[in-house]
Assembly symmetry: C2
Homo-oligomer: 451 residues x 2
C-alpha cells in the first residue's frame, strides 16, 4: 500500500491537468473510471451478449466516449449465436427433498417447461465421468464435482473451468439426459456461476446447469450417504441464432496519425445474472480513463500514437466481438494491443511478449510500474478474448497487466458481480498502471517487436 | 484463541467419557453437535414453519434424540398462521430497466400472478416514510432504505429490524400499493433477507418484499439521479391459517426427578431460503450436545436435575412454539431456562437475570466460562422467543450465553444460511460454554432466584 500511496501525487498531478482537457469534456468529472463503471452497471445493468440491453449499452457507451472527447466513435454491428435465459430451477425429490440454487450454463439445451425428473449420479471429477463407458448414463443426470481453490494468477480457471466448458459434452457422450456441475467458482454463497459451454461440433445440447458451491457440498454429502438421489430439473432457456450485437470503437488521435495505433480493449457485454461490474465494466473504465490520462498527461497535443479503445460485444459467449474487430480492422496497422478483463483488483504483475530487440521498452515499462507494487514476470502474454484475434492476425506485441485474481472467482459470472465489489482505490491503481504503460508505448516512435 | 485452546483438554476429557455413555447411543459419534446440524441441514434442509418439511424435521429430531439416549421424547402438535412462498420477482422497467434480487417477507400480501407495475418512491429511512401524509402514496410502491451495520451484540437488529417488522404497516397507512425494503442485513450479496412482518391489527396486508443490499444500493443511486423509477413486482405467496406445526420435547432425567427441570431450547423451523444452519440448526446442536455432556461428564447417574430439551416449532413467524410450550407445560415447575438462537459464532459474553441471593451461583458460572474467553455483563437476560413465554409465566431465572453477532446478519434469513458457514471449532466452543454452564445449574440443589 505504501508504494501506491507514494504514487498518489502523480495521480493528483494528472488530475490537475484536467482543466486543459475540459474543452473536450462536456461533463468534466473527477474520476472517469469510477463514474463510467458506476453508470454502466447502474443505469444499464446486466447486458447479455446479443440482447436489447447490450444494444442500449452500446448507445450509452458511444455517447459517453464522445462526451469524454474521443473521436471516430463508431458502433460496428455483427451477429452472433446468443443464449436467452428461461426458467432455471432444480430440486431434489424423494430423499432429502429440497430446492437447489442453480443457473443454466450458456448454450444449455432446454428441458420441457414442466422439467424432467431423473436419477442424479455423482462424479467427483470430470476424469471420473470420462472414465465410465459411453452410453452408460442413459436416462440419468450427471453431476460433476471439482476442487477449485483461489490462486492469485487465476490459473485454476483453466483446469477447473473445463468442467463447465467440456463437461457437458462428455456427459452427452456418456448418454446423459442432462448435466449439472459444481459452479466454477471459489465462494461459499448461494449464487451459482454461469458461463459458456463449448459443445463438440455436431452434438445436440442437453440441459446443463451449475449449482452454487453450498448446494454442490450438499449433493456431495448426500451422495456419500449412499442413498439414491433424484433431481427435478427445469432449464428452459433458448439458443438464438443471428442475434444482433456489436463493438464500440473510439480513438484518441495521436500527434502522428500515420503511425499504427495502440489498441486497448475490454468487453461491454456481461452475464445476465449480475450487472457486470468486475466482468467487465471495470475493464472498460480502466482502459478509457487511462487512455485519457495518457493523452492529457504528457506532451501538448496528446500521445504520439493514436490510442484506440475497443469495447467489444459478446465476449462471454466466445469472443465474437474480438473476431469481428479483427475482420473489420485486420488490414489497418496496429502497434500493440492490451486488454483489461480480470476484475478490478490491483495490478500485481506485468508480462510482455516483446522480442529481445524491444527489451529497452519493456524495461521502461517495468520501471514505470515498480512504484505501484507491480512485479515483472517472464510468462506468456496474450491479451485475451477481445484482442486475441487481431494479435494472432498481425502477430502484435502485447503487454498484460495482470490483476490479482485471488477473489475474482468468488464473483465471476454470478449475481454478485455488482458495483459494490469494486474498491475505488484499487480501481485507481489499475488506471495508474495503465496510464504509466500507455505513456510509454503510445509515445514510442519506433516499432515494438513481438517474439 | 489461546484461552479456548487451553480449554481443549477438558473437551477431550469429556469425549473420553463417551464410552460410558455408549450404552444409550445406538450410533456412537465423535461430535454430536456437528453431526446433528450437518444431518438436519443436509437431509431435511429448509423447514419453514407450518410446512411438510418442518413435520419431517420433527420426526427426524425425535428419532435422533431417542437414539442419543433422551427419554420422554414427544412431538407436541399445535397449529399456527403460516406463510407459503409463491413467485418472487421484481424488475425496474423504463429507466435503468433490470431485474432485482427480491424475497417476499413473511405474511406479505399477494400481487396478481402477472404482478403489478407502479412508480417506486424512495425513502431513505422509516422515519421519512412516517413523515409523509397518510394516503399520500396511493397507487405507488414505497421503498424504505436504512443504514444497518454489524455490531458484536447484534443490537442493530432492533432499530433497523423495524423497517421490516413495522415498515410495511406504515406503508399501508400512507396508502401504498406495495412496499419494498432494503434487506435487514449487513452483507453485500445478491441474497435478500426475509423475515416476518408485524402487521398492525385489522390491516389488510399489501405485497411486501426485501431486495438484496446491492440492489438497494442500485435503487438509492438511481433515485439520486432524479429520474422517475417504475417497478414491476410479483409476489404471489399466500398466508395459510391453521397450518400444522409442533414442538419436540425430550428429557435427560436427573438423579432427583422431584426437582424442577432445567429447560434448554432452540427452534427447529427455519426460513425456506436457506437450510437453517445458523438459524437455528446450530442452536439445537449446541443445546443437545451440551446437555448430553453435562449429563455424562459429572457424577455417575447424570445431573441432579432433569435437563429438558425443547426444539420449538414455528419460531420464525412469531414464536408459536414457545407459546405452545408454555401453554402445555406452564403448570410444571421449571428451575431455569436458556436458549441458543443466534448462530454458531463464539460465545463471548454471559448475562443473567439472577437476584442477588443467587450471586454465588452466578459467580461460579462466570468463573467456569472465563477460560473460554467469555466476559460477564450486567445487561438484561431474557432467553428468547422459544423460552420467553414460560419465563414470563413463571418468572424464571435465565442465563444468556451471547454469541458473537458481528457476521450473523450477513447470513440471517438468506439463502446463504447453510452448513458451510459454521466453523466446527466455534461450534465446539459453544458446546463447551453450555456444558460448563449446565454442569452448574443442573447440579444446583437449591432454587436459583430471578430478579
Amino acid at each position: 500500500m505504501s508504494l501506491f500511496t507514494a504514487r498518489l501525487p502523480v495521480a493528483a498531478a494528472a488530475l490537475a491537468i484536467l482543466p486543459a482537457f475540459a474543452a473536450h469534456a462536456t461533463a468534466p468529472t473527477t474520476d472517469v473510471a469510477w463514474d463510467l463503471v458506476r453508470d454502466l452497471t447502474t443505469q444499464i445493468g446486466p447486458r447479455p451478449a446479443g440482447s436489447p440491453a447490450e444494444a442500449r449499452a452500446r448507445e450509452w457507451a458511444a455517447a459517453r466516449l464522445k462526451s469524454l472527447g474521443f473521436q471516430n466513435v463508431a458502433i460496428e454491428p455483427f451477429t452472433m449465436r446468443a443464449y436467452r435465459r428461461g426458467t432455471d430451477k432444480a430440486e431434489l425429490v424423494g430423499f432429502a427433498a429440497q430446492p437447489l440454487a442453480i443457473t443454466a450454463l450458456g448454450y444449455s439445451g432446454a428441458t420441457p417447461d414442466a422439467g424432467i425428473t431423473a436419477p442424479l449420479v455423482y462424479f467427483p471429477t470430470l476424469a471420473a465421468l470420462e472414465a465410465v463407458p459411453d452410453g452408460s448414463l442413459a436416462g440419468k443426470i450427471a453431476f460433476i464435482d471439482h476442487a477449485m481453490v483461489p490462486t492469485q494468477d487465476g490459473s485454476g480457471y483453466g483446469p477447473y473451468g473445463n468442467v463447465r466448458r467440456k463437461g457437458p459434452g462428455v456427459a452427452v457422450a456418456k448418454g446423459a439426459l442432462a448435466v449439472v456441475i459444481r459452479s466454477v467458482g471459489t465462494d461459499k454463497h448461494r449464487n451459482p456461476h454461469t458461463g459458456a459451454i463449448m459443445w463438440p461440433k455436431g452434438i445436440k445440447p442437453i440441459p446443463a446447469g451449475a449449482v452454487a458451491n453450498p448446494d454442490a457440498d450438499q449433493i456431495a454429502r448426500l451422495a456419500a450417504t449412499g442413498q439414491p438421489l433424484r433431481l427435478h430439473l427445469t432449464l428452459t432457456g433458448q439458443i438464438i441464432d443471428n442475434a444482433p450485437s456489436g463493438n464500440v470503437v473510439a480513438d484518441l488521435p495521436g500527434r502522428d496519425p500515420t503511425l499504427p495505433v495502440v489498441l486497448v480493449a475490454c468487453h461491454l457485454d456481461s452475464w445476465d445474472l449480475g450487472t457486470g461490474a468486475i466482468d467487465d465494466g471495470a475493464g472498460c473504465a480502466i482502459v478509457t480513463a487511462a487512455a485519457l490520462r495518457a493523452q492529457s498527461g504528457g506532451a501538448p497535443g496528446g500521445t504520439l500514437r493514436t490510442i484506440r479503445v475497443l469495447f467489444a460485444g459478446s465476449e462471454e459467449l466466445g469472443g465474437f466481438g474480438g473476431e469481428a474487430y479483427a475482420q473489420k480492422h485486420g488490414k489497418e496497422p496496429h502497434a500493440l494491443a492490451m486488454e483489461s478483463d480480470f476484475g478490478a483488483d490491483r495490478v500485481w504483475r506485468v508480462t510482455t511478449n516483446f522480442a529481445p530487440a524491444s527489451d529497452a521498452v519493456k524495461n521502461r515499462i517495468i520501471a514505470a510500474l515498480n512504484p505501484l507494487g507491480v512485479v515483472p514476470h517472464d510468462g506468456p502474454a496474450d491479451g485475451g478474448e477481445d484482442v486475441g484475434a487481431i494479435i494472432a492476425a498481425q502477430k502484435l506485441p502485447v503487454v498484460d497487466l495482470n490483476q490479482d485474481g485471488t477473489h475474482y472467482f468468488d464473483l465471476h459470472h454470478t449475481p454478485d458481480d455488482t458495483l459494490d465489489k469494486i474498491d475505488p482505490a484499487l480501481l485507481a491503481q489499475n488506471v495508474q498502471a495503465w496510464e504509466n504503460t500507455l505513456a510509454i508505448v503510445a509515445n514510442e516512435a519506433g516499432p515494438i517487436a513481438a517474439r
